[in-house]
Symmetry: D2
Subunit: 293 residues, 4 copies
């Protein structure tokens, strides 16, 4: 069993840590708010006072935070992960951040004698709990082979994608589909509904058909019954869409359906829905179709 | 076992007929080109000289043709289905046609004392052969209950949707997703590819993720290896997109991702790709991204 | 001076007729509602009991109606223009109709020994009154040369475009710009306004800049002060956008900005604004930006 | 006559300086490459060794550079404009930069006891030479009144817009129209052309119509005869579109026609056209329509 560190114990990171503990690994954890990590300490996790402290004691350190600037906070500075990384140590970032930021970080890690992998995940809290999370890996292949057994303890599908930064790029390439798929789904749903098919029936039939991706199956029922807490809110979804558009410009790939779908997230924010699950974009489209929602 | 008629024995219609024969029903068939139906005659299907003749001998007559005008051809005129329909007969159209045309036809059938259902399917030749086809039913619910066992011999998922025309509307609402989903998928794929991930790897990872709907799983591998024959070509896909846009205007539902995706089918046609499977829209997007394809 | 006929004496057609009378021509007119034509009868116009009667007495007969089906009404049937056209007569349609319908009509006119030109106009009631209307001409060039002096009495810019149907195509090609230009204008205006610039100031500055086309200058002030009566309402604008999209599909020309702009007209209709001047699309965009309008 | 400084003597900045000299003002200039400024030195301009030196000798200092980062270069550091600004001095930036960057700079200028205005222009080299440039002014109104006579020497239309940063926002709001207008224009042009109207004729008729904004009049003839040197290339246009989209997200204004048009600039870059005048986007649309260009 391995000696691991984990920084960022939120909804996703906390549950990943729990799986690693359950698999028998030693895990030293750090979170900005310690109280939110109590359940993990109760489950046997050790506490590190700073990201640096975690990186110093662990052989393999993970981070999983909200965005590029949150990552810079836990990685840089005198108390950051980088300060604690030495020769031969492995650092794995599971956040969805800008591919360029990820690549730059890998260079800094290498300069300290360490090795970095970017290992974003595809799936949600539910997929994770069901043990179905899929992981994508960017970085040196030899390092990947070394940590592969640990990654398989997190989820059953682990795909080596390529060089540093390419796994987060892959993640962005997947996530842009989430928003476009849900837009098209709602366009169809509203068509059926305004044509006289009850919303529940239309939803059921569409989710029984060949277009029903797992992400649509999880998320579209939220229009009938919103979740208590957003899984992935409008702000977060738009962050990923903007990463996609930014990469599209850099790599010269036009993204027409992404560009147009992104504007509906802007409308959702304009209507005060920024913190709701992005399934709420239904309300924007319904309003455009003249419905009171 | 029932006494059935089937008009339109193409790639889909022929295979549906085969399933009905295999289930033990008597089927009288008609097709414009008789030679294409030889395999069904060999399997025990009887031959009707005209659509009218089929409708006269059968208790339940099916049609499954390419579009609204093909439907008018087999249904109208002295040799058409309508001429053969009498009191209490049931007529089931499985084509994807304009919801309005379907509704008008149902009125004509009722005037002859018959009953019409619109029963479009969601799925392809493959789904059908695997016994996974899903059927949507529009029309009187009592008539639906009467033929339900027959429909279950075609596919395992049969959803009653509502009044005449609402099942084809539902079908259109589903199909618009096919094209938008494949656009977004390719946008992501090209992003990954131009960022350095090999096309095969990117494809595999994306098809392993939560965005992989059954239709994407079947179809996107065509960019590596096109099918011998198009399952659903650009012209057919655009026909369905136009039905969606037409209904969107009639029912006042804006369809932004459909509208923009449809323009790429126009480009595919402009580039001479009208008769290839609509998966070929990849070539349009790749060209827009500066790739030689 | 020529012996003319004019059918369709609405807002535009009536004013064109007045100019022709003012120029000294003899005009026999017809309108569905005779009372609306009283001011022209007072100005010396003669009355024809049917479109056919007009065509029989005039050497050159004009029509100017709302859409393709209104054109078919005044042209076809026993009392229609076609029935009154004989050898050597000239028929000029000034309506904006489908290029294909226009071409078919020209063939019918030729079969009667007559000659047809399609002569749509670019401009509004105001442009017309200011004597600035621009006319586009499709049909045989020799016939055009023959009636050119009459057309110059209507407006100062007369452009020969090409064969029958090409002038209405040209008109559609121009009109699609109206809607896209106003969309982009409003997007910019809302950006300035939500950034703190007063709406009046933003409007003035934009109309002082290089993007201010004549049509934007006439129309965008309507968001401050709507016109008493729509010049060109949402339904009419969408009719032209649909003609453009229809031609785009037929000629294989993708129209991305048209396709997306058209969906906002659909939203305007969904919000009950179908009969207001299309400048009202501002309300749709403003609502999407979270403003109460 | 005033004692002025001017930094950034490129295509636009050089010509503005020339107008100021012609009006009788004293101008001390600075440019990265002195040789490009020789014609202005010959016309009586004085030379400043650094941006700071210019700001020290002038009462009113102008900058006009390519983008936000170029602005930071001439403004910051020991040799920058800021270092040379003291009590009561006025600093006018004529560049199109991010409204936020402009606002931050104004705060820094105020901290030194100076006053900043953002004064972007609408128009091109041609408009400027014809004496038709329009200027927008953001900042304190009293300072604007003070320099208004000088600004009128540059162009005849000077609009006070509001607080610091609001004039550049206004500029961005105008410029997004340039790209959307040209897209729609080309969509119409290609429709006419593929329908049989010669390109020259279609262009002429469209430029004779109510949609012909000054910017379309200057620029669309480039598709027949490209300019020797790009006035405003694809990269520069996309920079402005991205500023618009960035502000749209910040201010919650959806920009559908901008978002979709921007993707065609990305395609232009993917096709190797980044340095050509943005009128070249015609080639992208033409290729999408199946034409060889």
């Amino acid at each position: 069993m391995a000696n691991l560190g984990f920084i960022g114990l939120g909804a996703m990171g906390g549950r990943v840590t729990k799986r690693l503990l359950d698999a028998g690994h030693t895990v030293t954890g750090y979170n900005r708010s310690k109280s939110k990590a109590q359940w993990l300490l109760d489950a046997g996790m050790r506490w590190g006072e700073t990201p640096r402290a975690v990186a110093e004691v662990a052989d393999v350190t993970f981070t999983m935070v909200t965005n590029t600037s949150a990552l810079h906070e836990v990685v840089g500075g005198p108390d950051g992960v980088l300060a604690g990384l030495g020769n031969g140590k492995i650092y794995i970032d599971m956040s969805t951040v800008s591919p360029n930021a990820s690549r730059r970080l890998a260079t800094q890690v290498a300069a300290k004698g360490g090795h970095m992998l970017d290992v974003p995940v595809s799936g949600s809290v539910i997929t994770l709990e069901q043990g179905n999370l899929s992981l994508m890996v960017g970085g040196e292949e030899a390092i990947f082979e070394q940590v592969k057994p640990i990654l398989l303890d997190i989820g059953p599908k682990v795909n080596y994608v390529g060089k540093n930064g390419q796994a987060v790029l892959m993640k962005v390439a997947i996530n842009l589909n989430l928003q476009v798929q849900i837009m098209a789904f709602y366009e169809g749903l509203l068509l059926a509904e305004k044509g006289g098919v009850p919303r529940e029936t239309a939803l059921e039939v569409m989710l029984n058909s060949v277009i029903a991706s797992p992400s649509l199956k999880y998320r579209t029922p939220f229009i009938l019954q919103p979740p208590d807490e957003a899984w992935f809110n409008v702000d977060m979804m738009q962050k990923d869409m903007l990463l996609a558009l930014e990469m599209g410009r850099e790599l010269n790939v036009p993204l027409p359906t992404v560009a147009i779908s992104n504007e509906y997230l802007t409308s959702a924010r304009a209507m005060g829905l920024a913190k709701e699950d992005f399934a709420v974009v239904f309300k924007v489209l319904a309003k455009m179709a003249g419905l009171d929602v």
